[in-house]
């Protein structure tokens, strides 16, 4: 194989999803949010690629898979400016920014061990108190105990 690294990173996708503009520090959180480990499809993950805007960025490509918006928007918790490209027959047919909802129902677990949500069978709810950008973290506040957590430190339920 003589495929060089650069070519691999930009390897063409016939059908699928390309998620771009992810800060490197957020990449592996984003991978976890999409539950990619269980996906029986070709997944390419680019880490620490050069980027004019971000310095270093990450990129995720998933072949033959189109995610629900609700799933994609979870990425906004760690990468509020991530861009989702939908590819069909080698063409970008749709390009959109992820959207951070005002509140996240049963997605994030509270980091406070004394929070009711960690001691009772119930759904969690977090409200977005700071929306974040490329350099500032998203901030979430637990609707129940009022503890705040940075997007990058948020744990999945």
């Amino acid at each position: 194989m003589n495929t060089d690294k650069k070519e691999l990173a930009v390897a063409a996708l016939r059908d699928g999803t390309v998620i771009d503009h992810i800060p490197s520090a957020a990449l592996f959180n984003a991978v976890r949010f999409l539950d990619l480990e269980k996906l029986p499809k070709a997944v390419t993950i680019g880490y620490n690629l050069a980027s004019k805007k971000l310095g270093r960025k990450g990129i995720i490509k998933v072949a033959d898979t189109f995610f629900d918006d609700a799933v994609l928007n979870r990425i906004a918790i760690v990468a509020p400016n991530a861009v989702v490209n939908t590819i069909r027959d080698f063409e970008v047919v749709d390009k959109k920014r992820v959207q951070l909802p005002d509140s996240l129902i049963d997605i994030v677990r509270c980091n406070n061990p004394k929070c009711i949500t960690n001691n009772e069978p119930m759904r969690t709810r977090f409200d977005v108190v700071e929306r974040g950008d490329d350099t500032h973290d998203v901030k979430l506040r637990c609707h129940y105990c009022n503890h705040t957590v940075d997007g990058l430190d948020a744990h999945f339920k």
Partner: protein, 310 residues
Amino acid sequence: MSSTGAHSFVSIAQASKEQIEELLKRSAYFEQHPNSELLKGRVVATLFFEPSTRTRLSFETAVNRLGGRVIGFSDASTSSTSKGETLNDTIRMVANYADLIVMRHYLEGAAQWASEVSSVPVVNAGDGANQHPSQTMLDLYSILKTQGRLEDLTITMVGDLKYGRTVHSLLQAMKHFRPRFRFVASHELAMPEEYLRFCRENGIEYEEHLEFSPEVIAESDIIYMTRVQRERFADPLEYEKVKDLYTLRKSMLEGAKPNLKILHPLPRVNEIDRDVDECPEAYYFEQARNGLFARQAIITDALGIELPEQ
């Protein structure tokens, strides 16, 4: 949630200015009319999953003086939670019997959750380190009563500003009334950045002081003292060093304004010297008495009960 304006009272931060003013108006009414039959025929459940005799007695006295009846428990070890029942199940069960639930719980967010599953209004009597809004209402009523207004006051908070949930709630509630804050605490127990940011975002003037100085006392309308607890300090020597720095003594009140009042959520340990108790500025015992009126206000408001025309 039941109809006719009944609603839960879980957190002071969620309360609007109008709601706070309504509760203060009601507190003043109950100070004039402490005994009534406004709750005649109604049952209030006091569920104390964590014991707190002081708070429970205050709420139960409030119900009794309003002519209502009380059911409940004062300690989770005697309740169904000790058998592993979820809070959801306990609340739904009790909501069948009572018209209002007053609850205290060791878990943070418990009252909010209870208010979401209960078919009757829920009043939060403290949920762990999170909220204790009836304390805040009695603090606000005490300030209003002693100063004649809530607007444009200089409020000095002293002691444990890091863990003290009463000062955090009071700070949030005062945002409607253009306060000036002076925060007096050691580095270890300083006001958390989150609340300093809250002040900046709401255009509230504040200063932080390490020293409990005559200058700070001289400009204060209210001094809100809090307990500095030994167990908050990683280093016991550090505690010994600071504990006396934030003790208020009679001699320190010489240059105070004539309207100055000293508040403390009680119980106190040694942060207010006993020689202050006889000073006209000492208000902490009357403050506790105001808790009864504030709780009568909260209970009747939560049930949507109109007060008689005066």
